[in-house]
């Protein structure tokens, strides 16, 4: 008799749940909906009696979220916080008004709430309810999980897009010296490592020796002639990772490149290809690179303005 009565009550409760599901589909579900469903589920399986420790944990989380004024937050807002995405201004304003210690404690509490939802309560409900009834009861909880997965997948896709920009076939190739200094840079220079979230560092060290840069200089006769010269660059490359970088017309590398670099620019004593950079008569200056084009300037008596394109004449060497 008691059991029949209990099943009848569950049937009525599930009908209410189904009705509120329909409402939730029209306007997005909220944190309040999630907690309400967990409370309904709790009553189905006498959770406070069978699993008092976890039930108390749910009580504590319910109180925390109520005090934080977060019950009206939508799944979209909640999953933004959960996946560490940037929230819109209105959401942030709301958080700061109602949830002073938003960042860590709030997200940790959301994780705890999900852990309660997918733990012994879910197991007890699955043993009691049919699959359709379970799916109906857990709809806002499942929708929360689905939105987290969609946003987390997008975040991983973004990581891959950035890795592609930094390492893919259109990225600058490193010579052996650069492989070495970038490896060492990861060990000793802050900012050269990927972020805690797994995003690549935007920085890369540059150490090149180029033999095909172009400059113009006056001959002994006073004529201005073009010359192929040897140059060196020691600098820092920075990747932009914008959505649009590197896409577009022929001169996109100048307008919206995926990477730029700047640093010291070196030339040897003579304006000649395949010559030494160091030693007496060495000239030094600065360079700026946008995409695969760079412009360098060396100071001193034999000052030069040099233009070049990033292309390795001997792959992986220079």
């Amino acid at each position: 008799m008691t059991r029949a009565l209990r099943h009848a009550c569950m049937g009525v409760a599930l009908a209410f749940v189904a009705a509120s599901s329909a409402r939730a589909q029209k306007s997005e579900a909220t944190l309040g909906d999630i907690i309400h469903r967990l409370r309904v589920g709790e009553s189905f399986v006498n959770f406070a009696t069978t699993t008092p420790v976890v039930a108390k944990r749910l009580d504590g989380l319910d109180l925390y979220f109520r005090n934080a004024g977060a019950m009206g937050m939508t799944l979209d807002q909640l999953t933004d916080a959960y996946t560490h995405r940037r929230a819109d201004v209105s959401t942030v304003a709301r958080w700061y008004r109602h949830v002073p210690q938003f960042e860590t404690a709030f997200v940790d509490s959301l994780v705890a709430l999900n852990t309660v939802a997918h733990g012994s309560l879910q197991a007890a409900l699955m043993a009691t309810l049919s699959r359709p009834a379970m799916d109906s009861l857990y709809k806002p909880i499942d929708d929360f999980g689905t939105q987290v997965l969609v946003k987390a997948r997008a975040a991983n896709q973004e990581k891959l897009r950035r890795f592609y920009i930094k390492y893919g076939p259109d990225s600058p190739r490193l010579n052996l010296a650069e492989v070495g200094i970038n490896y060492l840079g990861q060990l000793f220079i802050p900012g050269m490592l990927p972020s805690e979230d797994g995003l690549p560092s935007p920085f890369e060290l540059v150490a090149t020796y180029r033999t095909t840069d172009l400059t113009a200089a006056k001959t002994d006769a006073g004529d201005l002639t073009g010359r192929v010269v040897t140059t060196g660059q020691i600098g820092l490359r920075m990747y932009g990772f914008s959505e649009t970088c590197g896409k577009g017309g022929r001169f996109v590398d100048l307008i919206d490149p995926c990477q730029s670099s700047a640093g010291a620019f070196l030339m040897g004593p003579r304006d000649a290809p395949l010559s030494r950079l160091f030693g007496s008569g060495q000239r030094a200056g600065v360079y700026l690179a946008r995409g695969k084009y760079h412009l360098g300037y060396v100071f001193g008596a034999e000052k030069r303005l040099v233009f070049g394109v990033d292309q390795q004449l001997v792959p992986y060497v220079f």
Partner: protein, 322 residues
Amino acid sequence: MAIQPPQTVKWPADRALLFVHGVGSSKPGDYDPLVAQLRDILGAESKKFAIYFLYYDAVNEWFAQKLQAQTAFTKLVTFLSGRMDGSALGEAAASFAGDVIWPVLIPDARLAIRAALLQQLQTMVLDGIAAGVQPRNQKLSIIAHSLGCFHTYEALSHAATTPAEGLGPASAGVVLENVIYMASPVQLIRSSGQAIGKALPQPSSIFSVSDAALAIPSEPGDDGTPVRCARRTISITGNLDPVGGFVFRSKLPWAYMDLPGQQPFIDQEQVATVNGSEEINLTSILIEALRTQGPPTIEPENPHDWSAYVARHATDLRKWLA
């Protein structure tokens, strides 16, 4: 932009299987015969599976091209192995330079593949949801081989400690049915990484090296008890497979992955097949020679062959994936 999107499959039932390959330069479709082999093993049951295959060599190729991995990192690892002791560990670390060690030395390389694997797992779960099967009812399995075991271990460890990925066994209720490691180099990489010591960039992003001990990835549950990422974790290796931690039938404790709670299987491998059989004994060879009136056909065996691992465990796979 040549970033391969995650594979998406329409689920025929409530289960899905992901293959993660090992070293090599595979492109989509290269492992179709292996998938066909498994479908044959499962028979009619295979129709219930949404089968996924993660091909990540395109990502490896970015790094190999940019960094000239084959030359630069071989030199680097040779240098590093010279700094290790003169034991077999140093030699092994050097011999696996191009394939196993360089994801250890370049955080970006391993994190890019981890992102690819995570987004594939997320797509699998979402495909299941699209088919009306919520994660609590999904039966997901992974079969990984060789270096794929390392990437699987890393991805599952990250998922278990990062609820934001939406794949946590406790926080998201995503508990896999099976994780089957075949010829896993996870312990070898751990030993090599720890031997490299301070020369290892960002050890915190490589669980197999930085964790106090290797363990089945897990997340604290609602009562604080760890919830494992898989109901069944299986480790299979051959006793001639150095990647799996064996050299000439001798287990190397510093190279053999021994996760507490795993189901271990050590296959008895042969260096060669005689007349197509791994059963090598004088009687069978004589009988076959008399039958065919000719000398025996001797073929060398690849102890690391993925297909051979699958074939040897056909009966087990039918049981585990049922």
